[in-house]
Symmetry: C2
Subunit: 200 residues, 2 copies
DNA sequence: TGGTTCTGACTAAGCGCTTGCTTATCGCGG
DNA sequence: CCGCGATAAGCAAGCGCTTAGTCAGAACCA
């Protein structure tokens, strides 16, 4: 069977993905060479093409997985409670912590969209729309229930997402706060943004 | 003298800068070729080097001007009133409108820092620190005066800037809101974030 | 005519990706 | 248990092309 060979191949494949994540995040897609990635994975340039169709395909794999993880995170937050306030807290905490702890991957997810092929971009944009829609529905529900108060729910939900996404840009591993501390403070900020009339 | 010839040269120079802004913003620094820039400016590839030392130098010129403009904007907002609330509103409105209307330039300013040479990056980081410091002082003043209320003024001021910067990422010219509408809503959000106990 | 602006032709270096080959591991007939 | 053909992983070398940047001279304007 392939129970012995597969793990080796899977390891090489994921090592290339991990190397690409590091390279793309620090130097950008176009600033990264296939030789950079191969070297970081401890392989020859040609080995990249044994496991991946192209450099762009590597970006697509990373982007797809990152977006799906984010969508899952948001959906879990919404499903965690029937109360919009608790849903908001769960979503913001998960979203923020994820963008801080996984800032390398999140940078690629949010800032390298233009490097995707048109077909791949289409697919990714679809997932992004789903993420935005989930948050918009959450805010709308809160407004309907009278626990949120905002003059423009659509822009408010966009701002909530925006705040979390931008954490990936400014977060540093050697910074002053842990991802959890940022998550906590961003929950406080989020409640204020939606005008939640609830004790903290 | 060169009073007559200079305008022509200045025009070519600024046409190259304008072309570089468009290209860098849409395709990124590394995704843009010197031929892209020259062609967009209606010139041959070699003409770029008559007016600029290198492609990186072009990026530096754009980044420097953009950062200085932003710092100026923040300082004008702070100087507009002795009242922290009015200062905050002026800064957020100016900052947000600038990042929406000038989103092409702002994308380069905020997302192409890694492509700068170490020396140039140092200089730019200095301006960024000055911008952050101005906003932090504004928030600290508001807290001292008792008109703002927040558990972490440092993270709050970072979040305020973060929110404005990210507008450059998601704003579209054909989107649902004008820069001014976004500025208005972001003023409302900012007041809530700092816990300003003031009527809208 | 003199000086500046701008160009076409060029180069060295670096790019994504392919090729030809070696090596390691596999199931399987004897 | 052994040896054989098959499959896949990996590498050194390099192909065809594009890149940033150069330079000698044409074109232009005072």
């Amino acid at each position: 069977m392939s129970q012995v060979t597969e793990p080796v191949a899977q390891d090489a494949r994921s090592r290339l993905v991990a190397a690409a994540v590091e390279s793309f995040a620090s130097k950008g897609f176009h600033g990264t060479t296939t030789r950079d990635i191969a070297a970081a994975a401890g392989m020859s340039p040609a080995a990249l093409y044994v496991h991946h169709r192209s450099k762009e395909d590597l970006l697509y794999v990373i982007s797809k997985a990152g977006h799906e993880r984010t969508l899952q995170l948001v959906e879990e937050g919404v499903a965690s409670s029937p109360d919009p306030v608790q849903q908001l807290l769960a979503v913001i905490r998960g979203f923020t912590v994820h963008h801080a702890r996984g800032h390398t991957g999140a940078r690629i997810v949010n800032y390298e969209l233009a490097a995707l092929s048109p077909a791949h971009l289409d697919e990714i944009v679809g997932i992004r729309r789903a993420i935005e829609q989930r948050v918009r529905r959450l805010v709308d529900r809160g407004v309907e229930d009278g626990v949120f108060e905002t003059s423009d729910p659509r822009m408010t939900s966009l701002a909530l997402l925006s705040l979390g996404i931008d954490v990936a840009r400014w977060y540093r591993d050697d910074g002053a706060w842990t991802p959890e501390q940022i998550g906590d403070h961003y929950c406080e900020i989020a409640l204020r943004i939606v005008g939640a009339s609830v004790t903290r």
